[in-house]
């Protein structure tokens, strides 16, 4: 299992960040040779995944990996520390990068996109910064790579280069940069001014001597400063970023970027505030209910969208707030649910985005109203869509069930019945806006076509895309039956446990 046994464990962190970075340089070097370039991407992604697996191995064995890079300010370093939550996110991101790379090759070629070298290069850079976020050892490191991630994904969002892309890019960069500079940096420096310590540590950096009032303000600043978590009213960048090519939307806006946001929030809640401190803050409940409102409101908006990617974008906004809510419930089991949701939502949502891209490439359809009867042409894609949708809704036998289960138990334990109700209503809303799409695709009553269905008339997307879609949809099912490794990992997080013990 562990291919990297002979390597000094402390080097693994640097490797996980450097491998995609070097990959991006190689991609530029091989820019003129598309086949070689794509091989490099795939090899890099696979190598990265094995490195993350090795790190996981060490984490289960209780080895704490650390890496000190450089002192940026006296006493404040860029440093990396491996902890279980980060490992979970790194696993998800690096695995899905492989799948997305396969998909992207099919998509970018099938769609005849321009500037493919820039695309694959920035993609690898984004993954590199995601790895750095995963393993960041203190708040300063996290902030730095959070910004690097924003900047490296900007060329991906504006890939098309037309007016719509420019507008989308402006909103994307505008919201993400301004929230991070105005709120997040302020909160980071505020925390530093207050405690003199930015290291992620079990139980948090605050103690009873710090003013609860200021901590409460800092919590709000953190929640809104991490614009990538898309809490209303700072969610507009996410639908705007949907002008990007679909593989970007898939990996970055279902996995890497948005999850980097909620991951950072979860990490800050657990390791900077500490769940015990969080309970006592006045603003925790306020932000909790704003999160709950985001869940419901964006589900409602999703229903009104006819463009499939826009609908999925609002669905993502809503699902991200599940994780926000899970973090802010400040209970051990809800946090576990939130952490698990990072993984389960990722596989579910990436499947849906893959399907949307496949439909676009194969049938050139973007709007849901045109997709009736599509099940005959694209049976595999639509079946995968159904699987992904059920997982997002949270019904068995799909992965989404577990995370929703733990979140609900967490809400019940904290006596927050409103949150329980929100989660339930949200599931119903999800059914209302996701399930009709595959149902209409397979059972189109208006169709006059009476011929029996046959394989000949299918018009599926290119093979690489189908492989990717199959892998993630099977992943949704597998994670329902075998969630144990992930749950074990989550139980290693200090103060977080799926059995509610902490």
């Amino acid at each position: 299992m562990n291919l990297w046994q002979n390597i000094d464990p402390s080097l693994l962190i640097s490797l996980s960040i450097l491998v995609p970075f070097i990959g991006s340089l190689l991609v530029i070097a091989a820019g003129k040779l598309p086949n070689l370039r794509e091989t490099i991407t795939l090899v890099t992604a696979t190598v990265l995944f094995t490195i993350v697996l090795a790190i996981t191995d060490h984490t289960f064995q209780g080895v704490v990996l650390q890496q000190h890079v450089i002192d940026l300010f006296p006493g404040l370093a860029i440093s990396f520390t491996v902890e279980p939550l980060g490992v979970l996110f790194a696993l998800v991101a690096s695995f899905l990068w492989i799948v997305t790379s396969i998909y992207a090759i099919g998509y970018m070629r099938g769609h005849n996109e321009n500037n493919q070298t820039r695309f694959f290069c920035c993609f690898a850079l984004a993954i590199s910064s995601v790895m750095a976020i995963c393993f960041s050892g203190n708040l300063l490191t996290l902030f730095i790579f959070y910004e690097v991630l924003t900047l490296s994904t900007y060329p991906l969002v504006t890939h098309a280069g037309n007016d719509a892309a420019k507008r989308g890019g402006r909103i994307y960069l505008g919201i993400l940069l301004s929230t991070s500079i105005l709120f997040l940096l302020f909160a980071v420096i505020g925390t530093y001014a207050l405690t003199g310590n930015l290291t992620f540590q079990a139980g948090g950096v605050f103690d009873s001597s710090h003013s609860k009032m200021i901590m409460a303000i800092l919590l709000v600043l953190f929640c809104y400063g991490i614009g990538k978590a898309a809490i209303m009213p700072f969610h507009r960048w996410l639908p705007a970023a949907m002008v990007a090519p679909t593989p970007v939307s898939a990996l970055l806006h279902a996995v890497a970027v948005v999850k980097a946001g909620v991951f950072s929030l979860l990490k800050i809640v657990i390791y900077i505030f500490g769940l015990d401190n969080l309970k006592e803050l006045a603003t925790t409940d306020i932000m909790l209910y704003i999160g709950a409102a985001t869940i419901l409101l964006s589900s409602c908006i999703a229903m009104t969208k006819d463009n499939l990617k826009a609908r999925l974008a609002y669905s993502t906004v809503s699902q991200l707030s599940y994780i926000v809510v899970g973090a802010l419930l400040a209970s051990s089991i809800a946090s576990a649910g939130a952490a698990l949701h990072i993984a389960t939502h990722a596989v579910g949502k990436i499947t849906l985005f893959f399907c949307a891209g496949a439909i676009m490439v194969a049938c050139h359809k973007k709007n849901i109203s045109e997709m009736a009867g599509l099940g005959k042409k694209m049976p595999i894609t639509m079946a995968a869509f159904a699987i992904g949708a059920i997982s997002i809704i949270g019904l068995p036998p799909m992965a989404g069930t577990w995370s929703k289960w733990y979140l609900t138990i967490g809400a019940l334990e904290s006596d927050k019945l409103l949150i329980v109700a929100t989660l339930m209503i949200s599931s119903l809303l999800n059914i209302a806006y996701l399930l009709p799409i595959p149902i209409k695709a397979f059972f189109d009553k208006t169709s006059t076509d009476t011929q029996p269905w046959s394989w000949q008339q299918t018009q599926e997307a290119p093979l690489p895309m189908l492989i990717a879609i199959s892998v993630t949809s099977i992943g949704c099912i597998v994670l329902f039956f075998y969630p144990q490794p992930l749950i074990d990992l989550i139980n290693l997080i200090p103060g977080v446990a799926t059995n509610g013990e902490g």
Binding site: L177, S178, A193
Partner: protein, 501 residues
């Protein structure tokens, strides 16, 4: 021998070289000579910084006349630090000038340009290390007169009105400083700064001295373009030749900021200026207004040089804000920003000069599509622009971090929030240029197809600055150490409540 007179070298070298440059006359020859001299004074400054870091402050009696009668040169960590930045910038700009001025200055004036540049360097170095208040005025005039000449050298005739405006405002500023120094002399009978400081301590809030302080502060504020005395700056920077703008933006105003620090801390004493006269409130308010008003002005300009000029005024606001916090970290953030801002603005103005070299215009229209045509220049502009915004891993982030931390240490949460808010405006004005460069198609009519990168002699200094921006954004050891020991030294003997030394 050289070690003994090291302190005088950064002044003497360019001063002697300036007339020689005029006599040499041939463009190529003067260029090589001026660059060499500037590089030599840069090496001397480096030696000075090293000496002061290890042995503490140096005193040098000019002409062998002992102070307080003779003119004394005082080199400490603070001014050695700024001196190094100034002479290094001067060298880089001179390397850059060779190709740049070919397009912007008539060939007959080239030797004049190098002469004026060397004189300007003399004046700036002198202002930094002199220990004599009247001598400071003399050096200020040397650098100012050289600057007026430099600005007026551009072939665009609008530079003449800009120069005239600059000349009038600059002379008023210098006169105010002279009047202020005169008042101090009238009361104390000395011009040596250290001597002034001891003699003034005997007077308890004397009205003549306070008036002198006011005159000097206003005069210096004019020179450093503190809002609302900045009106001369955008016009002068816009119409001056690009290499002149790059030099002035990264050195002249910085030296003036240093002069302000020097007068406040070494002559009048921080406790008098801040506690008795409450000068910090005036400075803080003006600095914050400068940040917002001028950042806003920058967002609406169509000429990129004007845009960057307004940005400079806003950035000076950050430096003055750092001083106005009256604490070691605050002053330190101001000093760091003096250095870092020189790096970023130098690179930005050089990149803009490169665009002028190829396009013959610096309007935002001219930038359209340059991301593809001049990738290296625009990449330099992008990175230096990110540094102005204060993105992590660039020098700008370090300045911002220290400034916000310093504000929070004084519990000035609103000031901290305003600083961050101000940097959002930088996103807007830098973003506008980048959007034109990377997302808009170049106009087809002109010979746009032939646009290519500028000569490497222009790219090299530009990229040295860009790499320095990244280097000093990651390895902050040198800047932070120098700025910390400088501000601790300046705050010696002054310990207001709540300031930890």
């Amino acid at each position: 021998m050289i070690e003994q007179h090291l302190a005088a070298l950064p002044i003497i070298l360019p001063l002697i070289a300036a007339p020689i440059a005029l006599i040499l006359g041939r463009s190529m020859l003067t260029w090589a000579f001026a660059t060499l001299v500037s590089a030599l004074s840069c090496i001397a400054s480096w030696q000075l910084l090293m000496t002061t870091l290890s042995d503490g402050a140096l005193s040098y009696a000019l002409g062998g006349w002992p102070p307080p009668w003779g003119i004394e040169l005082n080199v400490d960590v603070t001014n050695a630090f700024v001196l190094l930045a100034v002479s290094a910038m001067s060298t880089l700009v001179l390397i850059y000038s060779k190709d740049s001025i070919e397009k912007e200055i008539n060939a007959s004036n080239h030797s004049l340009y190098y002469t004026a540049h060397l004189l300007c360097l003399t004046g700036l170095s002198g202002m930094l290390i002199t220990g004599d208040a009247f001598n400071l005025f003399v050096f200020l005039e040397i650098s100012s007169l050289a600057t007026y000449t430099l600005v007026s050298l551009a072939s665009d005739r609008r530079c003449l009105t800009a120069t005239f405006r600059y000349l009038v405002m600059g002379t008023i500023g210098a006169t105010f400083i002279l009047i202020g120094v005169g008042m101090l002399y009238m009361k104390t009978g000395t011009l040596n700064m250290a001597d002034l400081s001891t003699k003034m301590a005997a007077f308890e809030s004397n009205r003549t001295l306070n008036t002198g302080l006011a005159f000097i502060m206003v005069g210096v504020s004019l020179k450093l373009a503190l809002f609302p005395l900045h009106m001369w700056l955008p016009a002068a920077y816009t119409h001056a030749p690009s290499s002149v703008t790059a030099f002035l933006a990264s050195t002249a105003t910085k030296v003036a900021v240093y002069v302000m620090i020097r007068f406040i801390f070494s002559v009048f004493g921080a406790s008098h200026v801040f506690e008795t006269m409450s000068m910090e409130i005036i400075l803080m308010v003006l600095a914050i207004v400068a940040i917002f008003k001028c950042s806003y002005m920058a967002t609406v300009q169509s000429n990129v040089k004007t845009l960057l000029a307004y940005s400079s005024v806003a950035q000076i606001g950050y430096m003055v804000l750092g001083i106005s916090l009256v604490s070691v970290p605050g002053l330190m953030s101001g000093l760091i920003h003096i250095f870092n801002h020189a790096l970023m603005k130098g690179a930005l103005f050089m990149a803009v000069g490169a665009v002028f070299y190829r396009m013959g215009s610096v309007n935002i229209e001219a930038f359209k599509g340059l991301g593809k045509k001049m990738p290296l220049t625009m990449a330099a502009f992008t990175i230096a622009g990110l540094s102005i915004i204060g993105v992590p891993l660039t020098a700008g982030f370090v300045s911002k971090w220290y400034l916000v931390t310093a504000a929070l240490e004084q519990d000035l949460w609103i000031v901290a929030a305003l600083v961050l808010l101000g940097s959002l405006l930088a996103v807007v004005y830098i973003g506008r240029v980048l959007e034109a460069a990377y997302f808009q198609e170049p106009p087809e009519s002109q010979g746009a197809k032939n646009i290519k990168e500028v000569p490497w002699l222009m790219l090299m200094p530009m990229w040295i600055l860009v790499l320095a921006n990244i280097y000093f954004g990651i390895n902050t050891g040198l800047t932070v150490e120098a700025a910390t020991s400088a501000s601790q030294w300046l705050f010696q003997g002054y310990n207001p409540a709540g300031v930890a030394l």
